[in-house]
Structures are given as structure tokens and as C-alpha cells.
């Protein structure tokens, strides 16, 4: 099953523009609320009609602004689970699941789907008498029962507590491999996005900022805004001072950083860039007289410390000019004796530094000033 999606639309002040393709995989649409994620699902389902674009499911167009084609929702073969589930309250679980079924063997298929979602014993129950997790499974079962090979899930687990979410995420991944499904999954939860995504689409203010494999989005965000949205704590503004042998030398604040040349883009010497490094990728070293002047080593002083139990988040003031956030696991925190020492050498490993172009889009979306350093 494939999904080809390209749509542009204007809803009042909100302008939306996105295009992507999905195969047999879980594509996570990630972003803050109001970014256009749910809108994307409604456009695919046919509940909203874009001004321009083309949407094809399994190679067959369901919407094409060029030819005026716009299939109504009931003829698009999709399974759609909305955020509040919308289980029909006057019907039993079995009646809900059977609602979208057609043709022969309905009883057989009902039994299969209920079995798959562990709902057999609840088939005659009304939705309101089910727990949150059971309701969630019933809504999934109803969507699956149509034998749609494209499943749209809008923040499906957001109303559940953490332990249930973990279980249902695992279940979704299992379903994906058992049923040969394409899943478009909307979430604003970064951890959830990372866990279930094969590919990740990062939305912001009606724009698709980056669409890539999960690791690629997390390790090589397309710009400052994507880095911010995907939880990169440290985004430094710098200037390229040298570029040779696949390595860039960038000056940021008073420090010199070496970083690999990013894929598909080669900045000029003198060009302003953004450098991203995740908080958990910064290493702490005890102070050493040899450190100053060496690339990728910066002295810093702890200004703020937050203890989360399993990890500690430290905020450093350093020669980089901007606050550097470092996340360190509880064990190394104790072994290094971070608690009793304020001054440290920060190591920013070259392979964990990601250099990004300063784009006007990204600057507009971020709180940082767009003027070059």
C-alpha cells in the first residue's frame, strides 16, 4: 500500500502546504498542536477538501484538484481512529466493529478482529462500560475491520496513562508487522514519535519541515526549527572558518568546533550556520590544563541543575556564549562526582555535531535572532 499526498489549502488565517509519500511503514506526523497534523489526516480521509493538490491511496487518486476528482470519505478505503475515538455509544463493541464491514463472512471477520485486539469477552458491552485501553482497542478494531490497508491514527493514545500507552504502542508495532499495514500516526509526544516511527514528518505552522527516516530526523534535523521541535537542547549560532577533507571548522562564541560536512550541502567559508548537539551527547571531563585551545573542548560552569532521578540535566555557562544543556545519567553523575564540582570541561564530539544552514524559515520559526554573528 502506498500513499501519495500533496495538498495546499487556506483555512482562514491558517495556510497549509505539505507533500509526502508513505509505503508499508509507520509514518509519524509530529509537531505541536495546531501544526497541521490532524488536518493532514482529515484531508487524506476526505473529511476536508484542499484547495490544491493530489492524494492517491494504493496508486488510485482519491482527490485531484487538476481533474476535479474528490471521492467522499465513505469510498476511500481507510481506517481512521479519531483522537476522542468516537465509539458509537448506543452500540455494543461488536456492533461498533461491524459498522464498517460489508460483504460475506462478517461474523467470521468480526471474531477475527475482536480476537486480534483481545476484545472477545467484551463483544456485547457498551463502550462506556469499557476501560480507556479497551475503548482504544475497540476503536482500532473498528478501523481495522474495514480491511483498509491505510490506517490513520490521530493521537490515539493521548488520553491513556503511561503504562497503557506503552502496551498499546507495542501492540501497534505488532499489528504493523502482522497485517501489512501503512499507518499514518499523529502525535505531539516526542518519545512516542521516536518509538513507533519508521519515518517521521515534522510539521510546524502548516508546513512540513522535514520528512525523513526517524534516525535521520533526530540526528540530522533539516534546520533550527526541526532541531528545536525534536528536542535538541543545544543549537549554537556560529560561522564557518575552514572547510577541508570533509570537516568543517566553525567558530561559535569564543570556541572552535570541528564537525563533519553535512550531507548534500557544503557551506562557504565565512557563512553563518547553526550547530545542533543533543544534551545527552555532550560529555563532561574533569578540568585539564591542556584543554584550552583544543577544538571541541570548552570550559563551562554549572549554573542550574535539575535532578530527574534516572538522569540529571545541567545547564552550563561557557565560552560558547550560549547556555549549554548537558544530560547525564545518574550513574556517571555519581562516579564523576558532578555534585561537588561546578567547573568542567565540556566535550562536544565532532560526530555528534550537526551543522545546519541558517534558513529564513527556521529563523522566523524560532525565538533566536536571524542576524548573523
Amino acid at each position: 500500500m502506498t500513499l501519495e499526498f500533496a495538498a495546499r489549502t487556506q483555512l482562514g488565517d491558517f495556510s497549509y502546504d505539505a507533500r509526502f509519500e508513505a509505503g508499508n511503514e509507520i509514518v509519524v506526523l509530529f509537531g505541536h498542536s495546531g501544526a497541521g497534523k490532524s488536518l493532514t489526516l482529515q484531508l487524506i480521509a476526505g473529511l476536508l477538501q484542499p484547495d490544491e493538490g493530489r492524494i492517491a491511496i494504493g496508486g488510485e487518486a482519491v482527490f485531484d484538484a487538476g481533474t476535479g476528482l474528490n471521492l467522499p470519505p465513505q469510498t476511500r478505503r481507510i481506517g481512521y481512529v479519531v483522537q476522542d475515538l468516537a465509539l458509537f455509544p448506543h452500540m455494543t463493541v461488536a456492533e461498533n466493529v461491524q459498522f464498517g464491514m460489508t460483504g460475506e463472512g462478517r461474523e467470521q471477520r468480526l471474531a477475527e478482529v475482536l480476537d486480534l485486539m483481545h476484545l472477545g469477552e467484551f463483544r456485547e458491552r457498551k463502550p462506556r462500560s469499557l476501560s480507556g485501553g479497551q475503548q482504544q482497542r475497540a476503536a482500532l478494531a473498528r478501523a481495522l475491520a474495514r480491511e483498509a490497508s491505510l490506517l490513520l491514527l490521530d493521537e490515539p493514545f493521548s488520553a491513556l496513562d503511561e503504562s497503557l500507552r506503552v502496551e498499546l504502542r507495542r501492540e501497534l508495532i505488532r499489528l504493523r508487522s502482522e497485517l501489512d499495514l501503512s499507518v499514518i500516526f499523529v502525535t505531539h509526544d516526542l518519545r512516542e514519535a521516536h518509538l513507533v516511527a519508521d519515518r517521521l514528518a515534522v510539521f510546524d505552522a502548516g508546513r512540513l519541515l522535514q520528512f525523513d527516516g526517524r534516525e535521520r530526523v533526530f540526528r540530522a534535523p533539516a534546520n533550527r526549527r526541526v532541531a528545536e521541535l525534536t528536542g535538541v537542547a543545544n543549537i549554537l549560532r556560529g560561522r564557518v572558518v575552514a572547510a577541508r577533507d570533509g570537516t568543517l571548522t566553525v567558530e561559535a562564541g569564543g570556541a572552535s568546533l570541528r564537525a563533519p560536512v553535512p550531507n548534500g550541502w557544503r557551506p562557504d567559508v565565512g557563512e553563518a550556520v547553526d550547530i545542533a548537539i543533543r544534551a545527552e551527547r555532550v560529555n563532561l571531563r574533569r578540568l585539564d590544563a591542556d584543554d584550552p585551545g583544543q577544538p571541541n573542548l570548552v570550559r563551562g560552569t554549572i549554573r542550574e541543575e535539575l535532578a530527574y532521578g534516572a538522569t540529571h540535566t545541567l545547564r552550563f555557562e561557557s565560552a560558547l556564549g550560549e547556555t549549554v544543556e548537558v544530560e547525564i545519567a545518574a550513574r556517571p553523575y555519581e562516579v564523576l562526582g558532578v555534585g561537588g564540582q561546578k567547573s568542567w570541561t565540556l566535550e562536544l564530539p565532532p560526530e555528534d555535531l550537526h551543522v545546519m544552514a541558517v534558513s529564513s524559515d527556521a529563523a522566523a520559526g524560532s525565538s533566536a535572532s536571524a542576524t548573523t554573528a
Partner: protein, 270 residues
């Protein structure tokens, strides 16, 4: 001190409730007392006048209800789903007969559909069709005053059904009609049933508009309320009026009880 302060208003409230209750119960008691005690009650109930009036009342109000439901349901559904400038005015116009004194409704109907009315005159001239002072006029009067109750309740019922259900039903392959029949109708059923009951009760009790627009001809336009009025206006008519009133009251109670039973069964067990 505190207890006293709390108790005083409670006692006052209890008294208020008691007086209010007596005010509403006493007229029914009076009706029954006079009816059972009166000598001519049974004769009045079994008279031709009474049977003609009851038959007419039942079937005309039933027809008015059916028309109100068949025409009012789509109107109510449409009104809950569209937005257009002046929608508030349209809704107010539909609600207007609820607050309109029935005599005004009768005069208004006469000026529109009477022999010399806006539409009535051309109908009479071209087709020889006269609506006023006919059984059709009875039904029109009942529809005019009763239908707004149904449309109003249906609008509230439809508005109470989360639009998300219908959207999901569409994504599950249901057409608009199927989504309406399987989702909207069952979920708004209590409101629709209540609206229908109100509409029917209002049509059954219709007097003022019917009198002005349809007249008071036994067997043709004389409904139960009109028969009661006529009986009352005769010398020594109170006995007959009371008898007819008890008959109408009994029929209405039985009908509403049956309707309530049917509608709660139709809604199913929650």
C-alpha cells in the same frame, strides 16, 4: 443558631412547594369530583357529539403530527448543520408560533389561506378550492401551533449528537442517510420523542386558531376542545363540559403513556 437559620428557609420552601402542588392538583380533583358526582356524565361521554369530536380530534392531531415529523425532521437537521446569514431570524420565525397567542395564529391563517387570503383567494378563484372552515383547516391550525415544538426539540436533539460520530461513520463507509439512520436518529431519539409528544399534545388541545380558521361544525371541524367550549356555553352545560374534559384528559393520558413506553423501548436499554 446555624441549624435554625437553615431550617427556616426549608420550612418556607416546603410551604411554597405544597401551595404550588395544591394549585396544580386541585383542578384535576375538582374535575373528577364533578364528573363522578354529576348525573349526566355518562350520557355526555357517549353522545354523538362527543364521539364525533373525539374521533375528529384524534385523527386530525395524528395527521398533523405525522406532517410535523416528516417535514420537520429534515428542516431541524438542516438547521443544525448549516450556517448562513439570517439563520437566527429563521429559527426565531419557526419558534414564533410557540409564543404566539392561538387566536392570532387563527387570524393569521385566515388572512393567508382563507377564502379571501393571500393564497386562499387564488386557490378559490382558479381551482374552486376552499381551505377555511374545513377539516383541512383543522389540521393546518394544529400543524401551525404544534410543529414548532417538534422542530425545536429535534434541533436540540440533533445538536446534542457529536458531529464526530457522523464523520467517523462516513470514514467507515456509511452514506449520509445511513449515518443519519444508524447514528443520529438513535442518539437523538429521546429529544425527538419528547418533541413529538409535545407537538401532538399541543395539536390535540388546539382551540383558538381552530375556532377562527376552521369554525365549529360538528363532525367536520368540531374537535374536542371546541365541543367542550360549545357544551359549556349551553345553559346547564357544565356537566357536559366536565364529562368531555374528563374523556379528553383520559385519552391524552393513555396516549402519552403508550407513547412514552414505546419511545423508551425504542431507545433500548442503555
Amino acid at each position: 443558631m446555624t441549624a435554625l437559620r437553615v431550617r427556616a428557609p426549608q420550612a418556607g420552601l416546603a410551604l411554597l412547594i405544597a401551595v404550588f402542588a395544591v394549585f396544580f392538583v386541585l383542578p384535576f380533583a375538582g374535575l373528577l369530583e364533578r364528573g363522578i358526582g354529576g348525573s349526566g356524565t355518562w350520557d355526555a361521554i357517549t353522545s354523538d357529539t362527543a364521539l364525533d369530536a373525539l374521533t375528529l380530534s384524534l385523527w386530525t392531531s395524528a395527521v398533523a403530527l405525522v406532517i410535523a415529523v416528516v417535514a420537520g425532521t429534515p428542516v431541524a437537521y438542516w438547521l443544525t448543520h448549516v450556517r448562513f446569514p439570517g439563520k437566527g431570524a429563521v429559527e426565531a420565525l419557526i419558534d414564533l408560533p410557540i409564543v404566539l397567542p392561538p387566536t392570532i395564529a387563527g387570524v393569521a391563517l385566515l388572512t393567508a389561506f382563507g377564502r379571501k387570503g393571500l393564497l386562499g383567494a387564488p386557490l378559490d378563484d382558479w381551482f374552486g378550492l376552499t381551505l377555511g372552515f374545513s377539516t383541512v383547516a383543522v389540521i393546518m391550525a394544529q400543524l401551525f401551533v404544534g410543529a414548532p415544538f417538534y422542530v425545536r426539540a429535534a434541533r436540540a436533539g440533533f445538536a446534542g449528537v457529536d458531529a464526530q460520530y457522523e464523520r467517523v461513520a462516513h470514514t467507515l463507509g456509511a452514506s449520509r442517510l445511513r449515518a443519519f439512520a444508524r447514528i443520529v436518529l438513535p442518539l437523538s431519539w429521546p429529544s425527538l420523542a419528547a418533541g413529538a409528544a409535545l407537538c401532538w399534545a399541543r395539536a390535540l388541545g388546539e382551540l383558538g386558531a381552530t375556532l377562527i380558521f376552521a369554525g365549529n361544525l360538528q363532525g367536520e371541524t368540531q374537535t374536542m376542545p371546541l365541543a367542550i367550549l360549545s357544551a359549556f356555553e349551553r345553559a346547564d352545560g357544565l356537566t357536559a363540559a366536565v364529562a368531555l374534559a374528563i374523556l379528553l384528559l383520559a385519552v391524552a393520558l393513555v396516549a402519552l403513556a403508550a407513547f412514552w413506553l414505546l419511545s423508551t423501548r425504542g431507545r433500548g436499554t442503555p
